[in-house]
C-alpha cells in the first residue's frame, strides 16, 4: 500500500519523472494522453497489476454504454444501456466489497439454524480506490444520459477514471470538470505552483504531524481497549479521532489536488472547514463534498429529494445516508454512522419547519452539530458495535489519564481551531511563498519533508484511512 501513497520515496521519484515528461508532451495531446494514462496505470498497478485490468474493463464498459446512450434514438435502448452500465458498476462494487460479508453472514445464519455451512467463504482482495472510480463511472454515464456531458472517447474516459492524483481516494471528479481540461493543453508558463506546493506541504503536515501522531498516541490505544481507559482519555480519543480523520483524509485530498495543480489540472475542492458547521446540512456541504454532491445528485434527488412531502423527504434523507454509510464498507458500524447522520438531518429539517424563524445561538448550534458528528465518528472508527458502545459507556469512567497530555490535547484543539483561520490568510501565505526565490522555496519544502519524516519516525507513514474504502 505504501507504494501508492503520496508521502513515499517511490512516489517522489515517480512524480519527478511524470512531471517532466508530462509538461514536455503537453503541447502534443496525442502523445500526452497515452503517456498520462500509462503513468496512472503504473501508479495503480504498482501493488497488483490485475487491478489495472479491472480499471480498463470498467472504462471500456462505461465508454460503450455512454456511446449507446448518446447515439441511440430510442429512449428505451438509452435506458437499457444506462441500466446495464449501472448494474455493471454496482456489480463490481458488490463483488469486491460486499460479497464476502454477505456470504459470511448467510453462512452464519444457515449454521445457526442447523443447516450446516453450504457456502465457500471467499477471500476477496479489495482493489484500492474501487469505490471512488466506480462512483465516478456511474456519474459519467448518468451525466451522458441526462445530456449534461457528451460521450467521450475511450482514452478520455480511461484518463477520467485513472488520473493518478485522484484515483485512490478522490476527490470524486465529474466528467464535465476534467474532460474539458484534457481537451485543452495546459500552459507551462502558468502553473499554479503557489496553491499546489502549499496544498502538498499542508497535506503532509496534516497527515504526519497531526493524524498519525493522534492515532498512535491516543486514538488507537483507547479504541483498542476502551475499558482500560478513563473517561477523559475516551473523550480525548473521540475528539482526537474527529481531528485525525479530518487531517488524514483532507491531507490526502490536499496532496492530490496539489499534485494535479502542478501537472496543470484543477480538481474540485473536497473539504471546506467542516468542523465550523452550524448544522448537519452545513456539515455535509463542507465534508467530503464530492461524495455528498454525488449522493445528492445521483441518489437523493432521483429518489424524489424533498419534492414529495415531508415523510418522503425524511425517508430519502435516511436512505441516502444509510447507503452513504454502506459505501464505506460492509459493516453495521458504517450503517449506524449513516443512520445517525440521516436521523440528525431529518430532525434538523423537521425542527426548521416546526420553529420557523427561531435560531439557536451560534455557539449552541456549533456545539450540537460537532457532537453529533463526533457521536457518529465513534461508530465509524470502532471495529465492532461492542467497542462503540464500550467507548460511549467509557466517557463516564474514572481513573488516571496518562494519555491526556498537553501535546495531544493541543494537536486536537489546533486541528479543529485552525479551521477558523480565514481563507484569505492562507491565500496571503501562498502568495508570499510563491514570490520567494526558487531555491528558498525548495529548501523550505525540503526541510518540511525532513520534519514530517521525523514526526512519523521509524513507524513510517500509516496508510491513509480512506484507502480501505
Amino acid at each position: 500500500m505504501a507504494a501508492v501513497s503520496f508521502p513515499t520515496i517511490e512516489f517522489a521519484a515517480f512524480f519527478v519523472v511524470v512531471f517532466v515528461i508530462s509538461w514536455a508532451l503537453m503541447p502534443h495531446p496525442r502523445a500526452w494522453r497515452p503517456f498520462i494514462l500509462v503513468a496512472s496505470y503504473v501508479f495503480y498497478g504498482w501493488i497488483d497489476w490485475r487491478w489495472v485490468l479491472l480499471l480498463i474493463v470498467s472504462s471500456v464498459v462505461n465508454t460503450v454504454a455512454a456511446r449507446v446512450i448518446s447515439q441511440s434514438p430510442s429512449q428505451e435502448s438509452r435506458k437499457r444501456a444506462l441500466t446495464a452500465a449501472i448494474v455493471f458498476d454496482l456489480g463490481l462494487l458488490c463483488v469486491f466489497k460486499y460479497l464476502g460479508f454477505f456470504v459470511s453472514e448467510v453462512d452464519g445464519a444457515f449454521d445457526a439454524v442447523g443447516l450446516g455451512s453450504p457456502l465457500p467463504l471467499l477471500q476477496i482482495v479489495l482493489p484500492i480506490g474501487i469505490s471512488f472510480f466506480t462512483f465516478q463511472a456511474i456519474s459519467y454515464v448518468v451525466d451522458v444520459y441526462r445530456g449534461e456531458t457528451k460521450a467521450a472517447s475511450l482514452g478520455d474516459v480511461a484518463i477520467l477514471q485513472a488520473f493518478f492524483p485522484h484515483l485512490v481516494a478522490g476527490p470524486i471528479v465529474r466528467a464535465n470538470e476534467l474532460l474539458p481540461q484534457l481537451r485543452t493543453p495546459r500552459d507551462p508558463r502558468e502553473v499554479l505552483a503557489g496553491p499546489g506546493l502549499f496544498l502538498i506541504a499542508g497535506g503532509l503536515i496534516k497527515k504526519t504531524v497531526v493524524a498519525d501522531e493522534l492515532a498512535r498516541n491516543v486514538v488507537d490505544p483507547v479504541f483498542n481497549d476502551p475499558a482500560a481507559h478513563s473517561g477523559l482519555e475516551v473523550m480525548l480519543a473521540i475528539y482526537g479521532f474527529a481531528a485525525q480523520i479530518y487531517c488524514d483524509f483532507s491531507g490526502y485530498t490536499d496532496m492530490a489536488i496539489g499534485v494535479a495543480l502542478l501537472l496543470g489540472f484543477q480538481l474540485p475542492q473536497n473539504f471546506n472547514r467542516p468542523y465550523l458547521a452550524l448544522s448537519l446540512q452545513d456539515f455535509w456541504r463542507r465534508w467530503h463534498m464530492t461524495l455528498s454532491r454525488w449522493l445528492r445528485d445521483y441518489l437523493y434527488i432521483p429518489l424524489g429529494g424533498n419534492r414529495d412531502g415531508e415523510r418522503r423527504t425524511y425517508r430519502n434523507l435516511m436512505l441516502t445516508m444509510l447507503l452513504g454509510g454502506l459505501w464505506h464498507g460492509a459493516a453495521f458500524t458504517f450503517v449506524i454512522w449513516g443512520g445517525i447522520h440521516g436521523a440528525a438531518l431529518s430532525v434538523e429539517r423537521w425542527a426548521r419547519g416546526r420553529w420557523q424563524g427561531f435560531h439557536l445561538p451560534m455557539w449552541v448550534a456549533w456545539l450540537i452539530t460537532f457532537h453529533v458528528v463526533c457521536l457518529a465518528w465513534v461508530f465509524f472508527r470502532s471495529p465492532d458495535l461492542a467497542t462503540a458502545f464500550a467507548m460511549l459507556g467509557g466517557v463516564f469512567a474514572g481513573g488516571p489519564s496518562p494519555l491526556v497530555t498537553l501535546p495531544m490535547v493541543s494537536l486536537t484543539v489546533a486541528a479543529i481551531a485552525l479551521q477558523a483561520v480565514p481563507g484569505r490568510a492562507w491565500e496571503r501565505a501562498e502568495d508570499w511563498l510563491v514570490t520567494r526565490p526558487v531555491a528558498a522555496q525548495g529548501v523550505a519544502l525540503g526541510l518540511l519533508i525532513v520534519a514530517a519524516d521525523a514526526a512519523v519516525g521509524q513507524e513510517g507513514v500509516a496508510p491513509f484511512i480512506y484507502f480501505q474504502f
Binding site: 502553473v191 483498542n224 531555491a439 525548495g442 519533508i449
Partner: protein, 322 residues
Amino acid sequence: MPAGQVLGVVVIALLVAAVFNSEAIVRAGESMQGGTTRDVVLSVARPLDDVAGTVGLHLPREGFDMAFGQEPKTAEGTELESGSTAILRPATKRKRDNKAFPQPTPTSPIEVFVTGDSQALFIGELLTDELPDDLFNVEVSPRNSTGLTNPEFFNWEINAQQEVAARGPGAVVMVMGGNDGFNVLGEDGELYGPQDPEWQTEYARRAAVVMRELGSNGKRPVYWLPPPTARDGAFNLIYQTQNRAIEQAAAAVPGVRYVDIYSTINNGRYSDELKIDGRRVLARQSDGVHFSREGAIVPTRLVVDAMAKDYRALRADGDAAP
C-alpha cells in the same frame, strides 16, 4: 510560475530532504522487499548517508527527532548484530520453569505489553478482550515490517530496552517473524541464508538477546509467538526454521515461553478458513500470512493458555494452587 521553476523547487526540495534525511532513506530502503527498487534506493542512499554523516548534515534531522520525542532505534555494535552463541546454552530447569511471577489482583493488575511485527496488532487487541479487565491491562505496540534479521532498519534489542524502561510491563507477548528472511552474518563472520543450519542458530541467538531484554532475564514472563503456517510453501520452510530457533532460544532464557502457533493451529496445515466456536470464519488475510481479525482469536487463545501456566487466575479452576 513556469513549469521549469516548479521543477526546480521540487528537485531542490527532494535533494535537501535526501541529504538531511539520508539516514532515514537508508532505513526506508532496508525495510523494502528485496528487488530493484530496494537496490536502487540503497545504492544511492548509503554513499549519500556516509558523506552527510561525515560533514554533520545529520544534525537538523536529529534536532527534529528530539523535538518530536523520537528515540533512535538503531545503533552499531549491539549484541543483536554480533555476539556469542553461548547465550543459547539451555537454562537449568529450575531457572527456566519454576519462577513464580507476581500474581495479578484488582488493586495490582498485570501490565501486559504486546509487541512485534504487524501480526501483533490483532492478537494484542483481542487479548484485551480475552483477559479479565480487572486483572490485566494490555498495551499493544506493533512495529510493522520489522524483524530480527534486519537490525540496520530496526534494532529490537534497543527497542526492547527502551520499551521495558518506559513501560515496566509485568508480562510481554512478542509476535514476530513474518518479515525475517534476510541472510544473516553468523558468529564466524560468514553470511547464511534461511536454508543453512547456521541461520537457525544465528536467529536463535538474536531472539535470545531480545528475549533477555524483554524479560529482564527472567524477571517477567515473555510469551514468544513465531509465525504460523503460510499459504506459500517457501515461506513455510523459513517459518519452520524460525519456530525451531525460537524453541531453542526459549529453552535458554529464563521466563520465556515458546507459543507454538505453527503446528497447533489446524494441525500445522495452512487453511484460509478455521472453525472457531462452531462457526467457520475466514481466518487469514489475502496475503496468506496474516490472520484476519476474526481468525486472530485462535493464536490469542493459545497465548492465554500459555499465560494460564503462570497466572492462576486464568486457569479453568480459577485460584487453585499450581
